[in-house]
């Protein structure tokens, strides 16, 4: 039976590699990105389907194992096989799949007895294929006192220090609603995977273990808070609406407009040098007030942080200026005057953004199975010779069993029937 996905991608920079994806939320995007760069990615699922198929949101709000938008987003363009490592024949099959892979992405908890019993722990996988790059993406890494601590996105956001830097005084720290610890660790794991693949090629096929920590991935997303503590003994913190510069709270830079919000880094600190052009602009609109005075111009041009009373004056002028205007108009005006402003966009505005349209960013992905097609994010980078490619919709549970077990592993029909009887697939 021919299958419609994944679309072939022989021109990708990573074409020729095969990646086995045993991952949960911490590694599925990593594997997907490798696939979009050309690798053949095989997602391994239990017979009932991977647990992340139950992650919402769902298409038309109808929960089901083929309708999770999370699943669609993270697993598009992969092949799917079912494999049941709880039975011996399944473990053997898993190790045959690992033996055919260049890289294995796995997310089992360090020291997990369950993973060991299934032959799915990193040690067993490396034994199955000593030449493979085995990438273990875990909450806190393979070693250390917290290695076994259960974690989800918000736990890593907290324990990685990232959440300390935002939120508000009244309500405390806040997480980004779309999980960023998961996104961060996936993207960073993908970098580690390709470094190990490069080293493998340069070192004559050297396989190795890549140990990735979700906590550390968020630790790396603390801006300059680490160095601020190290150099000055000051804890940077929120609120997120302003910038904290070397432990001092800068003026707010999120302002309400007639049609939403605008991010307006404009005065103080490094934005100082563009201050005069901004003051002229406010002045033209009759909103500059005292800011137009020479001593204010001189003050705002410097890179020295502003005192609280200076900030209050400035924020007042900016609020009055932005409130009646449209955000795109404000951004265009600021950019024309050399200030890096941007609109606050939600999902709809992002999808309708002219910049992305001009670059032909979005990809329409056919879902032949339900007779629909949907718009997905496009190339995260444009490679001139070996382009990124969206590989089609996410697979159904076990959609590629025949394809992989028959084609790739070369198992005969009766062997596959035996595996089915043994409940291995």
């Amino acid at each position: 039976m021919s299958v419609s996905v994944p679309l072939p991608h022989p021109r990708g920079p990573l074409s020729g590699y095969r990646v086995l994806d045993l991952a949960d939320e911490k590694g599925q995007l990593c594997a997907r990105l490798l696939g979009e760069l050309g690798a053949d990615v095989i997602k391994v699922e239990p017979r009932e389907g991977h647990a992340t198929r139950a992650n919402g949101p769902f298409y038309r709000d109808e929960a089901g194992r083929e309708s999770s938008l999370w699943w669609w987003a993270m697993n598009a363009g992969k092949r799917s096989v079912t494999c049941e490592p709880r039975v011996a024949a399944g473990r053997e099959l898993l190790h045959r799949l690992a033996a055919a892979a260049d890289a294995v992405i796995e997310t089992s908890a360090p020291g997990s007895e369950e993973a060991k019993a299934q032959g799915a722990d990193p040690r067993a996988l490396m034994r199955a294929n000593p030449g493979a790059v085995v990438v273990s993406v875990t909450n806190f890494g393979q070693s250390g006192p917290l290695r076994a601590l259960p974690a989800t996105d918000i736990v890593a956001s907290a324990m990685g220090g990232h959440m300390h830097l935002n939120g508000s005084d009244e309500c405390g720290p806040v997480r980004t609603t779309v999980p960023q610890a998961y996104a961060q660790v996936n993207a960073q794991a993908a970098v580690g995977t390709v470094i190990a693949l490069y080293a493998r090629g340069a070192n004559g096929g050297l396989g190795q273990h890549v140990d990735v920590s979700m906590q550390e991935a968020m630790t790396n997303a603390m801006d300059n808070a680490q160095q601020t503590w190290d150099l000055l003994g000051v804890n940077n913190r929120g609120p997120g609406s302003g910038r904290m510069i070397a432990g001092r709270q800068g003026p707010r830079y999120i302002y309400e407009t007639a049609d939403g919000w605008v991010a307006a880094l404009s005065f103080g600190g490094l934005m100082g040098p563009s201050a005069n052009a901004m003051i002229d602009w406010l002045d033209e609109a009759g909103e500059a007030g005292p800011l137009a005075a020479p001593h204010w111009r001189a003050r705002l041009e410097t890179v020295q942080p502003l005192e609280a009373d200076e900030q209050a004056l400035l924020v007042g002028a900016m609020e009055r200026f932005c409130r009646p205007r449209r955000k795109d108009e404000l951004v265009a005006g600021a950019q024309a005057r050399g200030a890096g402003w941007a609109p606050v966009y939600g999902p709809r505005e992002i999808v309708e953004c002219g910049q992305l349209a001009a670059r032909d960013y979005w990809v329409r992905v056919p879902h032949d199975d339900i007779g629909e097609s949907f718009v997905y994010p496009g190339a995260p980078f444009i490679l001139s010779r070996t382009p990124w490619k969206q590989r089609g919709r996410a697979p159904h549970v076990g959609e590629h069993n025949d394809d992989v077990y028959g084609g790739l592993l070369g198992l005969a029909d009766d062997e596959r029937a035996r595996l089915r009887r043994a409940m291995a697939v």
């Binding site: 980004t176 970098v191 390709v194 190290d230 150099l231 997120g240």
Partner: protein, 407 residues
């Protein structure tokens, strides 16, 4: 018996790093920290933005005292070339001719004006891999827009999706995309370098930071394109977990708790002593609990407010409930887990002394990365690079110095 040390994973690669500020230097740092020889090109005539940005040692602004700059530039060599000097671009070309890759993040068109765009550079190095990485890419109406990660996060949806439902789109409080985009840039560059290793072919990468970071919001974008509904910021709630959030404890620190499964919920109940409200019919199954988040939050806040964060976290941890404490930067430096992992590396800098640097979130077991040196001083490695790598003689070097090419 000591075994011969394996070479670093990217040993043998040389990178000319023309980039600046956050994203470009972080991409090149990945390569430097894994053994590539990365030559960071700067100029004293137009100082790198982050050398002018704090935190500074002793709060003294000075180009060699910025921790912000230092952290992004470990393991690199530092040279100075005045690109505006008539002889500057030719010197850059000589460097590129012996490099495998070039990284840059100027406004589109800047390098072309200097005769240093990809077409010009591949004339001197046909198998070059070059990555350009401004905010919005090389084309389109916003291609010359400027900005930093603080505002790109707004255009990319992170403000819209961070904050409380009835409040403003406060965002992450940091230049968030500066700490997300580099992973996508590095992935593209490394994949292209691996293709080059296998085929000998170089290429050009037009990396728009905006287009990369949107992949961190996949489900929210599909929620719009497939369901026609916009996801809104939910504070610390999660559409699929209850309780889920951060609560302030008696000592002022915040604890986070996330109950996605019935197992988590049972652990949570046990941890807080199975109070009556948890036994109510509407609390028994997750779908109905999700409708009772307000009440659950209220009880959880009261419970957390009566104990320290360590006590609350300890109780959850004992019962296997995903939980943690919101760590401050100070606590991060003392965190036993990060200590054990050696996440923060201490490197000796000539003017700043022994300072901590971030390291990659991944470790390779056989060919690990290593932060080999602190960030370079301006022009610290001029002689080593221009004489040693390019083979420039003493006379020509003196002439370049006298002419101001190396400023």
């Amino acid at each position: 018996m000591a075994r011969a040390k394996r070479p670093a994973p990217l040993a043998g690669l040389r990178v000319t790093d023309l980039s600046w500020v956050g994203v470009g230097p972080t991409v090149a740092k990945y390569l430097a920290d894994h053994g590539a020889e990365v030559i960071r090109v700067e100029s004293a005539t137009r100082l790198e933005t982050l050398r002018r940005a704090g935190p500074f040692l002793d709060n003294e602004p000075h180009p060699e005292n910025s921790g912000y700059y230092a952290n992004f530039n470990s393991s690199k060599l530092g040279v100075t070339i005045n690109l505006k000097h008539p002889r500057g671009p030719a010197l850059v070309k000589r460097l590129v001719a012996v490099s495998d890759a070039v990284a840059e993040s100027f406004t589109p068109g800047t390098l072309a004006k200097l005769g240093l765009d990809y077409e010009a550079l591949r004339a001197v190095r046909p198998d070059l891999v070059m990555i350009s990485m401004p905010l919005f890419g090389q084309t389109g109406p916003w291609s010359d827009y400027m900005g930093y990660g603080h505002v790109l996060q707004a255009a990319a949806g992170f403000n819209h999706l961070t904050g409380w439902p009835d409040g403003e789109p406060i965002g992450t409080g940091i230049a968030y995309t500066d700490f997300l985009a580099p992973h996508f840039g590095a992935l593209a560059l490394l994949a292209a370098l691996d293709h080059r290793r296998r085929t000998g072919e170089g290429q050009y990468i037009d990396f728009s930071q905006y287009e990369g970071v949107l992949h961190a919001l996949g489900p929210a974008l599909l929620e719009w394109t497939a369901n026609g509904r916009e996801l809104e910021r939910l504070g610390n709630r999660d559409p699929e977990a209850a309780p889920h959030g951060a609560w302030r404890c008696a000592d002022g620190r915040s604890v986070v708790i996330a109950c996605f499964t019935e197992e988590h919920w049972e652990g949570f109940r046990a941890a807080i002593g199975r109070p009556d409200w948890t036994d109510l019919e509407r609390m028994r199954r997750k779908p109905s609990r999700l409708r009772e988040q307000k009440e659950i939050d209220r009880h959880t806040a009261l419970w957390c407010g009566e104990r320290t964060a360590a006590q609350a976290f300890g109780a959850m941890r004992e019962r296997g409930v995903p939980s943690g404490i919101v760590r401050s930067p100070e606590e991060m430096h003392r965190d036993p887990q990060l200590r054990h992992r050696g996440h923060y590396r201490v490197l000796e800098h000539p003017t700043m002394g022994a300072r901590t640097y971030d390291s990659p979130a991944f470790r390779l077991s056989k060919t690990p990365g290593e932060l080999t040196k602190a960030a370079p001083l301006l022009g610290e490695d001029n002689e080593r690079v221009f004489k040693g790598v390019l083979g420039i003689g003493d006379e020509e070097y003196a002439d370049l110095l006298a002419e101001g090419v190396l400023e």
